[in-house]
């Protein structure tokens, strides 16, 4: 669609910058790998999971949008699709893990065989199992992402777009079920098992909510940037931002709810095998991170997003969203960092390198994928209603 032609140069620039930053970041990271392999893998896991959460959040929101069809989703659907389509790239970037499992996970080291608790779950937690599961996960996610974006693309030229909306629904509804199952297992494999004695049943849901929040805030930032120019400027009106703001608000509350539920239950029961996870995060500086999270991941955005004025203003909402994206980074670091740097808060410079390296490539892929199709699902039956806005 020619209307969107003037958005391309910016995305092209983003693509170039992303590629350069990605290449430089990864080069530095590889250099770091030669200095200290273990630190490299720890940093790589952190950087990887952030962008992974973003991409999978896009996929999750996309599936939900296809099923429920709220007006909030139509104008951001193509961005979510572009985000979800980066999953094969993330699959590629996952490959280094296959060579570093013992560097990351205590259960993958030979000493684990002397651990009684490990032996009870060795049938699940082992290197071949981890790798096979990861391959299955990426196959499922990529297939889902490609299937729904194909259908969505086909709708642009379809003679009967309503039929394609229905097909999107039919594919996406079981897709959500698959997404939930795979994310639960993937979060267990990749992050929870860093401390393989510890377990928490809410962990998978917490991960999904985190992914949704990451994707939402990212999309708000991108949408605000794109809607500075025509034609998006005319389509994206304050009520849409208010909707996105309200949903971000809901996700912030959900994140708080999940985090606090887990904390209260484990704190209150005070069982040795569980509470150690929080004890590690309550000392050596990590406790300040927890306070920062309480204030800036919950309290501040909560009160800001109560205001209708902020939610309706693209600029102010973008500010809140950007702040939340940074808090997502900090929360992720709080989640996995203490497993590597117990009892003292430490951030290795390599973490920044991997974050920038993977992020650069990811953003370049996103900027390349986004303009490859019309910016809006132009023939979606609900679009006229959304644009006329009522």
């Amino acid at each position: 669609m020619s209307e969107f032609e003037n958005l391309r140069p910016n995305l092209g620039r983003l693509q170039t910058i992303g590629l350069v930053v990605g290449a430089v970041g990864l080069a530095i990271a590889v250099l770091g790998a030669f200095l200290n392999l273990q630190t490299f893998f720890q940093a790589y896991l952190f950087g990887y999971l952030f962008w992974f959460n973003l991409a999978l959040g896009c996929l999750g929101l996309l599936l939900v949008q296809n099923v429920t069809g709220g007006r909030w989703g139509l104008l951001i659907r193509r961005m979510l699709e572009a985000g979800a389509l980066t999953i094969p790239l993330l699959g590629l970037l996952f490959v280094p893990f296959l060579f570093g499992l013992p560097q990351l996970y205590a259960w993958a080291r030979p000493e684990a065989l002397n651990d009684e608790v490990y032996l009870t779950k060795a049938a699940y937690l082992n290197q071949p199992g981890y790798i096979i599961r990861a391959i299955i996960f990426f196959a499922i996610w990529s297939a889902l992402a490609i299937a729904v974006t194909r259908l969505s693309r086909a709708q642009d030229t379809a003679s009967n777009p309503a039929a394609l909306s229905r097909r999107l629904r039919i594919v996406s509804a079981p897709g959500i079920v698959l997404y939930v199952i795979t994310i639960t297992l993937a979060s267990t494999d990749w992050a929870m098992s860093l401390d393989f004695h510890w377990f928490s049943t809410i962990y998978g849901m917490y991960f999904m909510v985190s992914q949704g929040l990451t994707a939402f805030t990212f999309v708000i930032v991108v949408l605000a940037a794109l809607s500075r120019q025509r034609p998006m400027a005319e389509m994206v009106r304050p009520p849409l931002f208010a909707d996105l703001g309200t949903l971000t608000f809901a996700f912030v509350i959900l994140w708080t709810y999940m985090s606090f539920a887990q904390y209260l239950i484990i704190w209150s029961a005070n069982i040795a095998e569980e509470v150690t996870w929080y004890l590690r995060r309550a000392e050596g500086g990590w406790e300040y991170i927890a306070i920062v999270l309480m204030i800036f991941h919950f309290a501040v955005p909560f009160f800001l997003l109560l205001s209708r004025r902020i939610k309706r203003s693209a600029q102010l909402l973008t500010g809140v969203a950007a702040g939340l994206l940074i808090m997502r980074l900090i929360d992720l670091y709080w989640l996995i960092g203490p497993e590597f740097h117990a009892s003292v808060l430490e951030v290795n410079w390599l973490a920044f390198a991997t974050l920038a390296g993977i992020g650069g490539l990811w953003l370049a892929a996103f900027a390349w994928l986004l303009p490859r199709r019309p910016f809006l699902p132009i023939r979606d039956p609900a679009l006229p209603m959304v644009l006329s806005g009522d």
């Binding site: 606090f260 904390y263 209260l264 704190w267 209150s268 005070n270």
Partner: protein, 179 residues
């Protein structure tokens, strides 16, 4: 005419909400200020058309909620830490984690109470009598008719002129209503 008869105002009855909205805009443009509408449901845009300001209720509710949170948290802290320290399961007296649920419930309770009773208070309800109920046919204001009242207390009110004005708005009827 009775001795203590006083005119409350003029009331016009309309068949549709759109007619009422148009009439409300015209009335405001004509400079009337003591105007009120009576409708069977909340008609969108009517408050703006009548020039009514936004309600302060949300602020009251915010204050109510904060008060509830403070009450809840302080009550638990004072009781558990100062007035009746009691060691259970080795948890500290000041277990803020455990105080969160009740603090939350108290926030909601007071905020919700403020919303309901604040609304009634600002609306001066309950109220057993109001002159508008003397309007002929007003029983349908809660079913399917839309009313617009201009009070006699309005500075621009003039029995004949205002009646003429209201007649010009295409109502079903215009009635003078006593107190």
């Amino acid at each position: 005419m009775q001795d203590n008869y006083q005119v409350y105002g003029l009331v016009a009855e309309f068949e549709t909400s759109d007619q009422l909205l148009a009439a409300a805009r015209a009335t405001k443009d004509a400079g009337y200020r003591k105007v009120e509408s009576y409708t069977p449901f909340a008609v969108e845009g009517l408050n703006e058309a009548l020039g009514q300001r936004k309600t302060r209720l949300p602020w009251l509710v915010l204050v109510g909620g904060l008060l509830g949170a403070a009450t809840g948290f302080l009550m638990q802290t004072i009781a558990s830490v100062y007035d009746y320290p009691w060691l259970v399961a080795g948890r500290p007296y000041f277990s803020w984690q455990a105080f969160v649920p009740i603090t939350f419930e108290m926030t909601i309770l007071l905020a919700a109470g403020t919303a309901v009773f604040g609304m009634l208070l600002l609306n001066h309800l309950p109220r057993h009598y109001h002159p508008i109920f003397n309007t002929p046919g007003f029983k349908r204001a809660s079913v399917d008719r839309f009313f617009l009242a201009i009070e006699a207390a309005d500075p621009r009110y003039n029995p004949t002129e205002t009646t003429e004005f209201l007649r010009g708005l295409n109502p079903l009827r215009v009635s003078e209503v006593g107190c």
